[in-house]
Every structure is written in C-alpha cells, then in structure tokens.
C-alpha cells in the first residue's frame, strides 16, 4: 500500500471521528482498500455525513451487499461501497447485524440508488431495512420460502 492511500484512509476516519467519536468502531486497511466499521445504530447518520461533508463528498453509492458469517454472531455483515467522483476515492462502510434481529436503517434518504440494492439483500439474505418504501422480493418469486444466500441454506438435497 502506498503512503498516499494510507493518509487518505486516516483523513476519512479522522474526519468522521471528529464529527462523532462513536461513529468509527474500527478502521481496516487491506490491499489498499479502506473499510470503516460503523455501529449499526449510527449507520444512517454516518452515511449522511459521508455524502454531505465537503471534505468527504461520497456522492455515489456504487454497491451494497451482505456477507453471512454463519455460525459466527453477529452473522450478517453489510458492506457499502462508496465513491467520491470529485475526489477519486473509494470507501467501504461495514456494519454488523445479528441474526436474531436482522434489521438496519435504509440508506435511501441518503442515496436513492440504495433502493434495489437493499431489496436484493432483503430477498437473498432476509435482512430488513427500516424506512424502505418498497421492501419486496426482487429476484425471487414473492412466495419463495427461505433466503438462498444464507450459508445455512443448502444448495442440494431437501431443505
């Protein structure tokens, strides 16, 4: 990793810490990518900060996805990939969601493009998003049972 990316990562994390020390639960640097771990209850506020802060300007939510760490708890890890087009920088926000209460705030108020991405996560992982205006299955039929991308959903044999 180059020094400049390391510096960028520190700047973003330091900036968020300055705004709210609780918003940054951890910073992970891996292969030149920066991941900021955000507590679940502060996700929406931190996302808003990432968009609106003039020295961050993460205006494009390029991807949102989920990783199931079953049987480790909290099992779900939501991963949001952000881009600041003007600053040519990428950032990943990560938040953990427990399996027995898989609910998290929707990011549609910040990035309207989160709509279908969140529907896809809901469809395939069964994570719910509070404040989502249209939380329905998107790829699977409405009457499908189970959430196929969960690790305990087997690909073969009876379910």
């Amino acid at each position: 990793m180059t020094d400049s990316t390391k510096k960028d990562a520190n700047v973003v994390a330091a900036h968020l810490r300055e705004w709210n020390p609780k918003a940054v639960a951890g910073v992970i640097e891996f292969r030149g990518e920066t991941t900021i771990v955000v507590p679940r209850e502060l996700l929406l506020a931190t996302a808003e900060r990432c968009l609106l802060d003039s020295s961050l300007q993460f205006n494009l939510l390029t991807d949102a996805t989920c990783v199931d760490r079953y049987p480790i708890e909290p099992r779900f890890e939501l991963q949001y990939h952000l881009v600041s087009i003007s600053r040519r920088q990428r950032l990943r926000l990560r938040t953990s969601v427990p399996g027995n209460h898989a609910v998290v705030d929707s990011l549609i108020p910040v990035w309207p493009g989160a709509n279908w991405l969140e529907r896809e996560i809901f469809d395939l992982f069964g994570v719910s998003f509070t404040g989502h205006p249209d939380l329905r299955r998107i790829l699977l039929p409405d009457n499908w049972e189970g959430y196929p991308l969960r690790r305990d959903y087997s690909t073969e044999g009876p379910r």
């Binding site: 390029t62 996805t65 087009i85 990428r90 990943r92 493009g113 279908w116 395939l124 699977l140």
Partner: protein, 398 residues
C-alpha cells in the same frame, strides 16, 4: 382500470403488462406500465425471470472454477466478467500480473466493448425500425467473435482471462488478423453513422427522449455511457485505472443532453476510442514474454515443467483438486464494462472456496432509473429508453 388524480384532474388509467416475452426488452424483463391514454404515468420493472443463483453457486466452487460461471453473467461481455473476477481474486492474493498479460487483457476487453456496443446498436436500431443496421453490426461482430475463437477456442464463453494472467499465448498470426480488423472497422463505424446520425426518423425517435439529470443519475447510482451522456466523465479506466490503463491514451467521451440520442453518440464514439486503445495495446504486446505470473500453488505451472519437475506436478494436482486458500479478507475490484461500472466483491474466510462472491452489475442498477426516465413519456418511448440503458438480463438477474 384505476382512478388516479393527475395534474389535469381525476382520470382513469390503465395498467398494461409489457413483457416478459416482449421482443424489445432484450430478454425477459417485465414492466408494469400505468398508462393515461398513451402517456406513461408510472412504471414498475419486474425481473428475476433469469435468476440462476450464480452468486450462490460460486460459494460451492474453488476460486479457479468460478471463472466459467462469470462468463454467463453478462453474456455480451464475458471477458469483462472474467477480468473483474480475476482482478478481485488477484487483489485478495496480492498478485502482480506481468505487463504483457495486462496488455493482452486490455486488448481483449476493448474488442469485447466494441462487440457489445455493436450488439446494442444493432438491436436498438431494429427496435427503432432500421433493419439494415442490425445486419451490418452483426457482420462486424462476427469478425470479433472469430478473433476470440482464435485466441481462446471459444466464440462467446471464453474463460480466457485467468487468475494470474491469461489462459493461452496469442496464437500464431494474430497480428495479421487484428490488423485486417483494425483496417476495416473505422470505415464501418462511419457507415453506421451515415445511416443513423443524421437520419430524421432516428433523431425523431431518440432526441429529447428519456431525459435524466446528471444529479439524479448519480443519486440513482447510474454509471457507464448513460451517466457519461449526462455530462459526468465517470470512467473507471481513467479514474481508477486497472490493468495498466493509465499507460493508454484515450478520451472519455461525454455528452450533455442526457437523452437517448446522447447515449447513442457516446457509444458510437466509444467504439472509436476502443480502436485507439487496441492499436496501442497491439504495439505494447511483445512477441515473447510471460502470460502468467509466477505463483506456485495458485497459477498452474507450465506443461513442460510438469514433465521434469516434481514440485510442478504436485502444485498442478493440488490446484485442480483442492484449490488454493487466500488469506481471510475482502476485496472489491471494479472495471468499466460496456454497460458501466462492473464490480466484483470477493470475501475469503481462509478456505479454498470463496465465502461470498458478489457482482455489482451495472445493468441491474442502471435499470433502476427507468421509471424516472419514462414517466410522462409516450408508450413507444419506453422501448427507446430500455434500449439505450443497454441492459443484459443475464446480468440484471444473475
């Protein structure tokens, strides 16, 4: 029939089901259209008819086996899918790829971009009523598919780009074949432009149709030619270069009108830029040199070595039986596919099979803007809008 309140007062609207078997949806897209006469009041895309669970299948395969699955996501740009997946795994492993292999990759994905844009142009023209352009585009695409066959043995599902490099050395005589193609193609693009750019029907069907502001496009996470037609020069090849794109000289094409016609102009000009890149890549690719990186246990050894060295034979056996195990972690790689930012997220838990593979498919996310684009437009414009977003349903549904 439902009663809704519009600006003009209380009217009756009709819900019309378009698709999933509709020729202009280029696959199996279903759109529920709410119409007031011929004007679209609301649109609700419904997809998933082609959902094959590729991301789930990836979790049951070793890292190398996943490559054949990636071909089938965006079936008009399999090389791009191969590349983004390999970039993500290589990032996870921390592999360096030899320059020669990087240039071959660039050349192949740029050829792929031209072939994908040709399919787009041809099918979109046929939707708009211009049959001959379709035939011309497919004639040229055939030449590109022949080049792919020459390089990889496959016309479409190439699986040519592999973890650590590319599958095969360029075949004998490849330069002459590409030279012939490079000589032919610029004139052919001129032909399409002669047929369409000034064509009154073409302009009438596309100009001013499907407008979306640059601000809305970014808010809805749109990328690719649709975003560039709205005036934003967002191109991964320039902003976040991969595979040595920073060494190539090309322009990022933008337009400002942000209508269907602007998207057409962007794609046609992008084909010319791709030709520029291919030309540079051809001169950068040396006749001799490695096509794969040296990474024992990850990249299969050369056939010759397997016959003389015991370690090479063991590595070969291990790679194809149990695979290799990257360190636990996550990596997200992105490329500029013909449709926009194609991303691949790979998470490893330290086992030989990926914990999670996710594809950020540009078609899926760009399609999200369709209701906004077509609200208030005529029913016939819906087809122009679907066409110029350039969706591939294999990628939308995965």
């Amino acid at each position: 029939m439902t009663t809704v309140e519009t600006a003009a007062g209380i009217t009756k609207t009709m819900v019309l089901n378009m698709g999933p078997q509709h020729p202009s949806t280029h696959g199996v897209l279903r759109i529920l259209l709410e119409l007031d006469g011929e004007t679209v009041v609301n649109a609700m895309p419904d997809m998933g008819y082609l959902h094959t669970g590729i991301e789930k299948s990836c979790e049951a395969k070793t890292y190398s086996q996943v490559i054949t699955l990636t071909d089938r996501i965006d079936y008009l740009s399999p090389l791009g899918n191969n590349l983004v997946y390999c970039l993500a795994v290589e990032k996870l492993l921390g592999l360096e790829i030899p320059k020669r292999a990087q240039y071959i990759r660039v050349m192949m994905v740029e050829l792929q971009r031209i072939s994908s844009h040709l399919v787009w142009l041809g099918t979109h023209a046929i939707d708009m009523g211009a049959m001959s352009v379709f035939l011309y585009c497919f004639r040229e695409r055939e030449e590109i598919l022949k080049i792919f066959e020459m390089f990889s043995g496959q016309r479409m599902m190439t699986s040519y780009i592999r973890i650590g490099g590319v599958a095969l050395d360029p075949p004998a005589g490849w330069r002459a074949v590409l030279e012939k193609f490079m000589k032919m193609m610029p004139g052919r693009i001129d032909d399409y432009e002669t047929l369409l750019t000034e064509n009154r029907i073409w302009i009438g069907r596309l100009k001013g149709i499907g407008y979306i502001s640059g601000q809305d496009a970014v808010a809805l996470s749109m990328t690719g030619p649709t975003l560039r037609a709205a005036g934003l020069a967002y191109d991964n090849r320039r902003l976040f270069p991969y595979s040595s794109y920073e060494e190539f000289d090309f322009d990022v094409i933008t337009e400002t009108a942000s209508d269907c016609y602007a998207r057409y102009l962007v794609r046609v000009r992008e084909m010319r830029e791709s030709l520029k890149i291919i030309r540079q890549a051809m001169s950068k690719i040396t006749d001799e040199g490695p096509i794969k990186t040296e990474a024992p246990g990850i990249v299969p050894p050369q056939r010759e070595k397997m016959k003389t060295e015991m370690e090479a034979l063991i590595y070969h056996f291990k790679i194809f039986t149990e695979g290799f195990s990257p360190a636990a972690g996550e990596a997200f790689a992105t490329i500029e596919s013909p449709r926009g930012e194609l991303g691949c997220f790979v998470a490893s838990d330290g086992s030989p099979k990926p914990l999670r593979v996710h594809f950020r498919s540009p078609s899926f996310i760009n399609l999200q803007a369709l209701p906004k684009m077509i609200a208030g437009q005529l029913l016939s414009d819906v087809i122009a809008c679907i066409g110029t977003i350039d969706i591939v349903l294999g990628e939308v549904d995965r």
